[in-house]
Amino acid sequence: MLALDLFVNGLIIGLFYALMAVGLTMIFGILKVVNFAHGEFYMIGAYTYTLVSLALGVPPWLALPAAALAGALLGWATERWLMRPLYAGYGSWGLMKDEYAVVVTFGLSLLLINLVDKVIGPYPMRGPSLSEVTRMSLGPFMISGQKLITAIVAIVLLVGLALFIRRSLWGRQVQAVAQNRLGASIAGIDTARASSIVFMASDVLAALAGALLAPVINPSPDVGIFPAVKSYVIVVIGGMGSIPGSIVASLLLGVLESFGAVYLSYDYRDTFGLVLLILVLLLRPQGLLGERVREV
């Protein structure tokens, strides 16, 4: 039945949004800035997956980790060279750190898009699917094999991340730095490494999201802009810095868009989230589960 299909479809879309949004919200939690190049990490992941499996003949299952690796490297480099000044104190933007982050990540986004455009070409490529099964029935609804596999992988990744943050030593250090950078550094935690870990994790997730969706979306250099905007919406609605908030908001948005496209307006399906973002920022700026932003 249609509603159930829409619902499940929405949830699956939401899972992918979550892969993107969770990384973004973590970066905000630990660095207090928005990474405007986030969509490009997704794009790099999609391209790595596609190129590695097509050009190198590597089986798709191995191309996934390759994409993850690309994301990790890029994330490490970005944090190390561009983001350090935000808290290390040096760099000429000492007073306007939000603006620095916007400009530098915008620049990075431009750079990545145009590098890929130049080096690889502007035309969409097609990545191989992980599964050739196009339709199978799972209980009361129909789903393609690709979607099912990617949904499962997404769930595994999200659960893995949650466990990492909650249970592992590094994960708890990340939590400490997110809550109070100065305090954490006084307690002996390596805040630079925590930031590095967060950036890498965020980009790995985004890259994998891109890789998983590559067969569906046909990556082109600017394919990351759209999911990025979605991520911003989700991060705000869920609460900047709150991982559970992002996951909940992602699923909500996925379902909302799924139903809205059919029952309200297909053309304007992208505006629902944006309007919601503005409303949330005005009425409840901390989002669903975020912390109150202190004034003065």
Binding site: F28, K32, V33, V34, W81, L82, P85, G91, S92, W93, L95, M96, D98, E99, Y100, A101, V102, V103, V104, F106, G107, L108, S109, L110, L111, N114, L115, D117, K118, D222, I225, V229, Y232, V233, V236, M240, D267, Y268, D270, T271, L274, V275, L277, I278, L281, L282, P285, V293, E295, V296
Partner: protein
């Protein structure tokens, strides 16, 4: 009592920057005497379009500290205001063009009120959402706006050279307007808000009023740029409002020197002309451009203008000495 004066005092600094801006504008005025290629004149016209956007955005972000991500969207709104008035109701440009200042200005005023209590990433994201919504609405309202087919706009003047001087005059007017604003008390209120909004309010600055005015003027300038561009290209399309276009404006201002009067001018013109020249060299202009933005943001916050000024200051050390009580430094 004779007031001491110093290069770093705001009004004097603004005066010097305005003088330099006039020099740049004068240089631009002389270009058609030496360059007759319509292609290059067209390049300069487009760079002046970007320069106007840069001036408008720099007022809001560089001087008032409101890092909006919507300037391109307002240019698009300005272009469509003029275009739609002409297309649907045959409104002449004499009214349509001024409307491209007023309508985006008023919309900007409303946006300013919406984001009044926001700052940093929240402000950026809200303005980004607004810009995307605007673009999507224009894109999807095919019956009204003709969507991505674009909307025809009547031309204001016929020749390329005439368009060139039209844009130059508009750019000069925008720069002078911003200069006048910054010289007036409100200019200093905006800079105080930029440096410390809570502190500014604590010193008695009417923050709501100042921000509202900044949004109105900034968005009005951006809108006007869009309106003029429409009459030049005789076409407006939703692509004017793409976030990527805003990215270009931000990059131009950062490279030129954010928070200065002359930075947006030189940033826009140099970057756009250079990118056109680089286009012949293997189409790498966007990559170079993006690298420059990152490098400047990371290492040279003061931009090209700041670098030039520092180079000059090193050769004239007396300029950095404190003012003497009886006169100037």
């Amino acid at each position: 009592m004779k007031l001491p004066s110093h290069r770093n005092f705001l009004r004097r600094k603004l005066g010097e920057e305005m003088l330099l801006s006039l020099v740049v504008l004068a240089a631009l005025a002389l270009v058609p005497l030496f360059v007759s290629s319509p292609y290059w004149l067209g390049v300069l016209i487009v760079s002046m379009y970007f320069a106007m956007l840069s001036v408008g955005w720099n007022l809001l972000a560089g001087y008032a500290g409101q890092f909006s991500l919507a300037p391109a969207a307002f240019a698009m709104l300005g272009g469509y205001t003029t275009g739609l008035l002409a297309w649907h109701w045959s409104v002449p440009l004499a009214i349509g063009l001024p409307m491209s200042i007023v309508v985006p200005g008023l919309i900007g005023l409303v946006l300013g009120r919406i984001v009044l209590r926001l700052s940093g990433p929240y402000l950026a994201l809200t303005t980004l959402s607004f810009a995307e919504i605007a673009r999507l609405v224009v894109y999807n309202s095919i019956d009204f706006t003709r969507g991505d087919q674009g909307l025809n706009v009547p031309a204001l003047v016929d020749s390329r050279v005439a368009n060139y001087y039209l844009f130059l005059v508009a750019l000069a007017a925008a720069t002078l307007l911003v200069y006048a604003m910054l010289r007036a008390p409100i200019g200093r209120f905006l800079m105080a808000i930029r440096d410390d909004e809570v502190g500014a309010a604590s010193r008695g600055v009417n923050v709501v009023r100042a921000k509202t005015i900044a949004f109105f003027v900034s968005c009005g300038i951006c809108g006007f740029a869009g309106g003029l561009y429409g009459t030049f290209a005789q076409l407006v399309s939703p692509e004017l409002g793409l976030i990527a276009q805003t990215g270009i404006v931000i990059a131009m201002v950062v490279i030129g020197g954010i928070g200065t009067l002359v930075g947006p001018l030189i940033g826009a013109v140099l970057v756009y002309v250079a990118s056109e020249m680089l286009r012949d060299v293997g189409n790498v202009q966007m990559i170079v451009f993006a690298l420059l933005v990152i490098v400047f943001a990371r290492f040279f916050r003061e931009g090209l203008w700041g670098l030039a000024r520092n180079a000059f200051a090193r050769r004239a050390p007396a300029a950095s000495a404190p003012p003497s009580p009886a006169g100037q430094a």
